[in-house]
Amino acid sequence: MNGIIQKRIALTGLTLALLVFTWPAMAPAKRPASPTGTFSSMYYSEEGGDLIGTEVRIVYTRKGFQGTVQDAEGEPDELILFTATIDGDNNFTISYTSPRTGDPVTISGRVTEAGLETKTKWWTGGNLLKRAPSYWDVRRTSPP
């Protein structure tokens, strides 16, 4: 009798363990964040009368992901067009030529709900360029 109860307990334990281990795999995969959008740190400093920050915009096109980047260090630079490589895990690489120095620039990282997360710091500081409305749509006077 005791043997049967022990067997049943062991079987129940095994079933529970299987459920615990397979549950995460059965749960729906978390949908990755949208790779398109506007990512901006740009704002107008009323104190200095300067426009400061970076704004990256990523859109989808028939030829894949494309976008624009604009830096502002006092005055806003010209728009730069780029082609972005973004994989299924939202890992991205952006390459373009700096209009000021003529040097090639490559930025890589991951697109998340929060923004563009990179290993190297954006020139405005920090490793995250936040997902935010375009400065040109809202005209912020403080960092987003």
Binding site: T38, R57, I58, V59, Y60, E75, L79, L81, W136, D137
Partner: protein, 144 residues
């Protein structure tokens, strides 16, 4: 008596006209709508799976206004850089060549607080691209 009355009426009319003239010149001028912004008619048609519409984005740069255009007839085109001409009354004109199909486009319209109204050469009627966030920020399923 009658010539005196006529003179009196004449002076009264002159004074009234002067007051009206001064009144009109003193009235506050209509505030100019911001030129920079996002103007879009793009939306996703869930029935057909098509993305349709046009999105124009205007930003300010150290070299004047610049922007991008994206036209979507089923699938969104590549981003196209534009250098629009904008006068003091917010009339806007720009031209570009479609990078995929090579067609030449010429647009003329006017920017107001609510959007950009005008037409591409060859179109029969004006249409309005509403001022607001980019389609790529919101993924609309209805026209904006």
């Amino acid at each position: 008596m009658i010539p005196a009355l006529g003179k009196h009426i004449g002076v009264t009319v002159l004074v009234a006209a002067s007051i009206l003239g001064v009144w009109v010149s003193m009235a506050p001028a209509e505030k100019r709508a911001p030129v920079a912004g996002t103007y879009s008619s793009i939306f996703y048609n869930g029935d057909s799976g098509d993305i349709n519409g046009t999105e124009v984005r205007i930003v300010y740069t150290r070299k004047g206004y610049q922007g991008t255009v994206q036209i979507s007839q089923g699938e969104p085109s590549q981003l196209i850089l534009i250098k629009p001409t904008i006068d003091d009354d917010n009339h806007i004109t720009f031209e570009f060549t479609d990078p995929t199909f090579g067609g030449r486009y010429s647009y003329s319209g006017r920017i107001t607080a609510s959007g950009m109204t005008g037409r591409f050469a060859g179109e029969e009627a004006d249409q309005t691209f509403k001022r607001g966030p980019s389609y790529w920020d919101t993924w609309r399923t209805d026209p904006p």
